[in-house]
Symmetry: C2
Subunit: 664 residues, 2 copies
């Protein structure tokens, strides 16, 4: 990197994300107690050193600011932090030692020539690597142990008297704090929060409650749309909400003749924006934990909305933790595997080799950890305390599971792709891949059923959707088998339906991939449209059409256990971008990419999606489709014809009748 | 453990020591900067859970206090901390989840029946073990992240005007803070500290300085005997020193006809007491780091002074860190090995099987780490970045080193002893032991020289004292070879002398073991007596008789680099107890022990030394020696005769003329 870059805070690579991830996973609050995540969590290193050599043509000075204690060493001589240090011409070895028992040790080096831009190494006294940094921390007055949120004041949309108190509706989901502007009472108040009015009004069972609040109270950050203040009147109390966020640029737009779909798009954007901050969260109200499975889906949504590379890498580094692996990610074996697969997807999305170089050794150690629990057939099995999750669904879990093997197969593939890029020997993974692929087809593919069975050891030959969906998504079946899976499993009502929105994501993905966009269009209109009809301002963790009244808020045995703003609820963004607009990279970082719209469900549409270093706009009106990419490398496929797209040229296509639009 | 025990703070075992060890190793201060230790350091877990089952006969209530955030779970139902929780009769599963991003997570459970006494398990979500605790933290108002020192106010012994300022001499070494009682000046003062007057008076080069101090200043904890306040007069300033310490009971006493030896004893006690707190420190002024080599010697001194088991285990747990080993202890290979050997010694001293059970898995992983760097002959070698220390001495370090192999051999022995006690299979270590012993004698024992050579690979056959000393200490040579080592090495002036007090400890130990107590008596009188003559109030890191004036304070190229209160300086305590009083355990925890006094150097002496669960008093007057042990199990050996000692019986022995006393 260039010396002309600006200085920024530097740290041992990965440590910022691990430390902030720890803080994030400790931020869950439920009713009157805190609920730190229930797994083993790494913390950042507490003792690090930074190093850089400078060959100076003239004398120069610099000052080191640090979060922590320590000293600066110039050619062996020690100096304190915060004081100007003069460096003579010639070769200079500069080291900065920082220890911080309270959190992340970090340094900011300020000077004309000697400064903490790119080029510093960081060591934990065992391993020396390029120092880590973030574009969010470029100011010496900052402390990377804190998060500096942007804020937005939100006024009440409606204030009403009810149940002897005041109900405030902000008309939108807020993730933030409160400013009590007025309190004309001679006693403190209780503030009950709710994502729904029902939750806020339930003073016993609402998730969050601020008790003994007065005008000076600054409640902690919480997620809510409603507040209820018992035993007050609208004249006595005025509360502004302060929404907190890390700005992310929405790089996509969507407008169609289908008003419902437009609303679904907008609510998806609102939902995903709320759940995306320093990391991808599952949702804003409940866990606020970083789950690898949830994050996996968020990477895909991000690719078609923010195209923010940093939130991906922050989330992946936080999830992975330090080198030594003590437990599967979130305790779940499949979540560990999804993490490996996600790295390859990130590389395809961004083409970022530097990140691959940083993360590859942690991918390898993760694979070693996984390989240690494979049997002589190459099948991965669960050990005591391992959670073989896949999904909350009835599945024949005797012995090794098909779905888990298909994930592992894809992970080998990811290692081969990523390892080749960083110049590592991937022969081992190729061998493992071949063995596993062979045995997967031998033991788990049931030719008679035309589908993968859950388990071969039980002899039950039970079929669920999960393994079959993964096999389609990861291209492990040929056209013939894929068609069998579509008919025998995905479109077969006798096969237990997917009930969780988590796996619905994968199912829609697979259906689209198998050409079922029309069907998926209907599912989006029904399922997400159902939430829109229920006046949702964000998409929920789960929607069950039959549920009525306050029962819709119940989940996990808790009357308000359901999260009403959940990242995976935003999956229409991905489905619309990936399959309806039909945009996908065909080489890393969209050096080449494919645009293959399937817009028959829309009579008119005007949408833009980001790609690496550019964007693609697709416009359809009547029988004309116009496509424009700001970046070279695209190939447009329409109706069996391929057209190479030059940058910033509008290509107009006449649509044959069958593609003009169904006007759903 | 019994339910009737008192409650105490509990944590994940080892975490308290690891966390406090981190804080300790970050406490070094040098001139105007902090100097955290230069190695990879572990921190405690941040997320733990405690568990216990109670079968209650009647309802009972309890309250959980915690350092950190989290909740209490009773039979699956969650409760906040700090509130009374009622438990119904019958079987109850109680879990306490504590997360603390700022330090050690800990819990204190208060109740009649349900309380944090023994019997709780602690889990890091991977491994479940008996919870850790300390007798220092039994009060719910405490926080195990803090150390609660006892304090002692120290008045100036002399106050004098010098160099235009005031020099205060407290007449003793203080390790603590200051209370500025009077400051009749209209500007802030500078306070220069010194272990010596020369250091305090050197306002540029003194180690510690408090600048801009006023009457409200509370300087941080430092080690000093002198203060110098420039530009003041004795009328203008009055400062009390506040000495801080963790009380340790001196269980030994020593009084003889030799006044110098009495003073050496007393100064040794003062020195060792100052360097012993939460952990064994190398010294109080400079590093304040926990060094495994220094601690190793402190364990031996402790055995004959405080007999404090807890400071041993705290130091060993802090040194060892978490399960995963990333680096040798203090980066030094031999320090890792000494740690393993020390555990066996601690077991012989205390007979504490519980501690062995707790630590054994960490001994095993340490051995795995060491074994990974042995070659086909079983010899351990240094890897890149490993520090093969042994001593600051010229040594032929080509290839593998004899001294290192002898330490490793002793470590195998420790594993066999400790593994057998905890019921582990130690066959592997027996095999390794045999191979290494065989090859050690083949490759490193030089029959012609009658000594171990440093290195066989170089072909130089160079002999230094170190390997030979270790071989004697660990009983790896028969009488014949031991005698050869004595004559050819230890008493051979052509073999480079030991120059460091660190290795002098081992050398005196070996000399005594080979019957050279008379010689060692003289060495003590000369070397330690030399420091007494220089008005030492504590024993130094190093004493070089030829050095004069301020040159005595120089070390490591720093004019005041020498530590004047250094733990290993207290080694006369060990030598007097172990060899002159002749007390040592012959089975774990002094179930049996031997008393074999060698007191010919004293005409009269009255001394007491602790043993596990008792003490032994030895009195010599004229031609009578009286011995009394408060504990059964001792065997007195005198002049070739063994007498079994009954508890609390005085045994008087008439001394033959040659044992009456040399009156040195």
């Amino acid at each position: 990197m260039e010396k002309t870059e600006n200085a920024r805070w530097i740290w041992y690579p990965g440590d910022f994300e691990i430390r902030q991830g720890l803080l994030q996973n400790f931020s869950r609050e439920e009713r009157s107690y805190d609920w730190p995540a229930y797994w083993n969590m790494d913390d950042c290193h507490k003792n690090v050193k930074f190093k850089r050599y400078y060959t100076l043509e003239k004398a120069t000075s610099f000052v080191v600011h640090a979060i922590g204690i320590g000293y600066v060493e110039v050619n062996g001589e020690k100096f304190p932090f915060g004081k100007k240090i003069l460096c003579e011409p010639g070769k200079n070895k500069i080291r900065v030692f920082v220890g911080n028992t309270a959190g992340l040790p970090a340094a900011y080096i300020e000077g004309e020539i000697i400064k903490s831009d790119g080029g510093w190494s960081a060591s934990n006294f065992v391993e020396e690597l390029p120092a880590g940094s973030s574009t969010l921390y470029t100011d010496k007055e900052q402390d990377p142990n804190n998060i500096y949120f942007n804020t937005e004041r939100v006024q009440a949309a409606t204030v009403s008297s009810i149940n002897g108190g005041v109900l405030i509706d902000y008309g939108r989901a807020v993730f933030g704090t409160l400013d009590i502007k007025k309190l004309a009472l001679d006693k403190p108040i209780t503030i009950c929060y709710g994502e729904s009015d029902a939750e806020a009004l339930d003073i016993d069972m609402c998730y969050y409650k601020e008790e003994n609040a007065d005008a000076n109270s600054t409640p902690r950050k919480r997620a809510f749309r409603y507040l209820f203040i018992p035993e007050t009147t609208p004249e006595q109390v005025e509360i502004e909400a302060i929404h907190e966020f890390i700005p992310l640029k929405n790089q996509a737009s969507f407008d169609s003749d289908n008003e419902l779909m437009n609303r679904i798009w907008n609510i998806s954007v609102e939902t995903f924006t709320l759940c995306s901050g320093m990391f991808f969260l599952d949702g804003i109200k409940r866990d606020r934990w970083i789950w690898s499975g949830d994050a996996y889906q968020s990477y895909f949504i991000n690719q078609y909305l923010f195209f923010d590379e940093n939130i991906n890498t922050r989330t992946m580094l936080a999830l992975r933790g330090q080198n030594e692996i003590k437990q599967h990610m979130n305790t779940i074996v499949d979540y560990s595997i999804l993490w490996v697969i996600a790295v390859e997807n990130h590389y395809m999305m961004t083409g970022n080799k530097e990140f691959l170089k940083q993360i590859y050794s942690k991918m390898k150690s993760m694979m070693d950890y996984l390989l240690a629990q494979t049997n002589e057939l190459g099948f991965i099995y669960g050990r005591e305390k391992d959670w073989i999750f896949i999904d909350w669904s009835e599945m024949d879990k005797e012995g090794t599971l098909a779905a888990e093997q298909i994930l592992l197969l894809k992970a080998y593939n990811a290692m081969i792709v990523c390892g080749s890029v960083v110049g590592e020997d991937t022969e081992k993974y190729s061998e493992k891949y071949e063995q596993l692929e062979r045995n997967l087809m031998t033991y788990f593919w049931d030719e008679e059923k035309g589908a993968f069975i859950d388990s071969y050891e039980s002899g039950k030959r039970h079929v669920t959707r999960h393994a079959n969906i993964f096999a389609v998504l990861f291209d492990f079946v040929d056209k013939l088998k894929a068609e069998k899976i579509l008919q025998n499993v995905l479109l077969n009502d006798k096969i237990t339906q997917i009930t969780t929105p988590y796996f619905k994501f994968f199912e829609q993905d697979a259906l689209c991939k198998l050409g079922q966009t029309d069907r998926v269009f209907n599912i989006i209109c029904d399922y997400w449209g159902g939430m829109v009809q229920q006046d949702a301002v964000t998409f929920w963790e789960e929607y069950i059409p039959d549920e009525k009244g306050n029962a819709v808020y119940e989940m996990y045995g808790d009357p308000f256990g359901k999260s009403l703003c959940h990242a995976w609820g935003a999956s229409p963004i991905y489905l619309l971008g990936r399959y309806f607009a039909g945009i996908r990279p065909t080489s890393p970082g969209y050096q080449t990419f494919s645009v293959e719209p399937k817009l028959e469900c829309f009579s008119a549409i005007d949408c833009t999606f980001p790609i690496k270093g550019g964007s693609i706009r697709i416009k359809k009106e009547a029988n004309t489709l116009v496509v424009c990419s700001t970046k070279e490398g695209g190939t447009m496929s329409l109706n069996g014809t391929d057209v190479v797209l030059k940058a910033n040229m509008e290509y107009a296509f006449d649509l044959p009748k069958e593609l003009v639009g169904n006007s759903y």
